[in-house]
């Protein structure tokens, strides 16, 4: 089984536009950046958080603290995955207590990753609040979780996957919908 590109959803320019809007919304919702920290979920949430942070710096003149969160050890589907995902490390070099944490991830789907991220976050400290920023919300939630900042709402089917590509990891910024292709024998 392989995945085949079906349609491009966003170009680099469109993606940048989404991130800018999200950055503005973060400032607006939090009435500035006081106490706001960004925590990117490994793996593509991390560069996205960095970009939002840089945009915030541009807009507000201060760079909010950023951290990386590896939620692997908190996944609820570990025993269903083979081989198991590898750790990439959590690095939150500041105290979370009393902060307004903005969790950043690329795609919001079932909500299970965010559930795991919340558990991982709570083990690190006691934030004042946690907000969620995602580049794509593709629906099909399995848990009562919603995003506070959404780059693009994208209706999809279960047979599809949304691939967010970022220059830091994938060499280009773009978002694709891919679909399963049964391999010919």
């Amino acid at each position: 089984m392989t995945w085949q590109e079906k349609a491009r959803v966003q170009t680099a320019q469109e993606m940048d536009r989404s991130l800018r809007r999200m950055a503005h919304e973060i400032v607006e919702r939090n009435k500035g950046l006081d106490g706001v920290v960004l925590v990117g979920i490994q793996r593509r949430g991390v560069p996205l958080a960095e970009r939002i942070a840089k945009l915030l710096e541009k807009f507000e003149g201060m760079l909010p603290p950023q951290g990386k969160l590896d939620i692997t050890l908190y996944r609820d589907d570990l025993s269903l995955r083979y081989p198991q995902p590898l750790l990439r490390g959590t690095d939150v070099p500041f105290d979370l207590s009393g902060r307004k944490v903005v969790l950043v991830d690329d795609v919001l789907y079932t909500g299970r990753t965010v559930r795991a991220a919340l558990d991982a976050l709570m083990d690190l400290g006691r934030p004042a609040s946690v907000q969620l920023a995602v580049l794509v919300d593709r629906g099909h939630r399995e848990l009562p979780i919603h995003a506070d900042y959404v780059g693009k709402n994208l209706p999809t089917s279960h047979a599809e996957v949304v691939e967010v590509r970022v220059a830091e990891i994938d060499g280009a910024d773009e978002i694709w919908i891919c679909e399963k292709v049964e391999e010919q024998a």
Partner: protein, 310 residues
Amino acid sequence: MSWMHRHLLDVDALSRPEMELLLDQAVHMEDLLDRPIKKVPALRGKLVVNLFFEPSTRTRVSFELAEKFLGADVVNWAASGSSTSKGETLRDTAWTLEAMGADAVVVRHGMPGVPWYLREKLRKASVFNAGDGAHAHPTQALLDVYTVWKHCNRSLDGLRVAIVGDVLHSRVVRSDVQAFRLLGAEVVLAGPRTLMPLETDALGAVYEPDPVKAVEGADAVYLLRIQKERALEGLYPTDDEYHRRWGADEELMARAKKGAFVMHPGPINRGVEIASAVADGPNSLILDQVRSGVAVRMALLYLCMGGMEA
């Protein structure tokens, strides 16, 4: 690259990339040890049995911490020496473990080969060798290389490691030689000939009868524990003589590279294989080894048990 092992019986099962993957994962696990809440739910619902046929508090506690930090359910089963002497064969013990639903068995036994025996008998559970006879002790070897590796910029290539002491009765040394060599280090063995196997070459290391020459230019000096009953068996005359000739004191360490690491699997016999000044000195990694042990065992348990069964 992904991890394909469900068990760890000895170091020779691992390729270099696999070993490096494990060390890399151990770094992330060690990060967890600094947090106020160290427990994660990665192995929630998994039952791990620590099956110890001989007491080894350090290894057992280290495994137990690793298991608990990963959220596993842990049972310590201390069995008496020989399985037959207690009236139950190891085969029956294995089947009992299976019936209890163990997902993993960490086994320590005085007889070599027991972990392999258990793996053959257990259909479902992962088996981890926590030391079998004077044969293998792979997690000790992993934590030893990990400790040096993280202090040496994640590379052991070209390093010289001198292992000094009772090679003959050591369960650590065979696995350690394999592990250090796998990562590109060279190993020299030293110690009285009566405490060496006749064919040291078989271990993959050079034997250097002169302890000073063995230590010369070493990046790390690893002291093996001397069990005092060996003197009674006539393998060396007295602890005093052993210490004077083979013990790591400041004079011997001065022959190694400047800043050479001092290592020991513990528990240490101060004044026999190691002088206190060396054990407690600035280059001693002995306590770091203990901490590394938990991290490395967490990485191992996670890699072998974290995913779906193949």
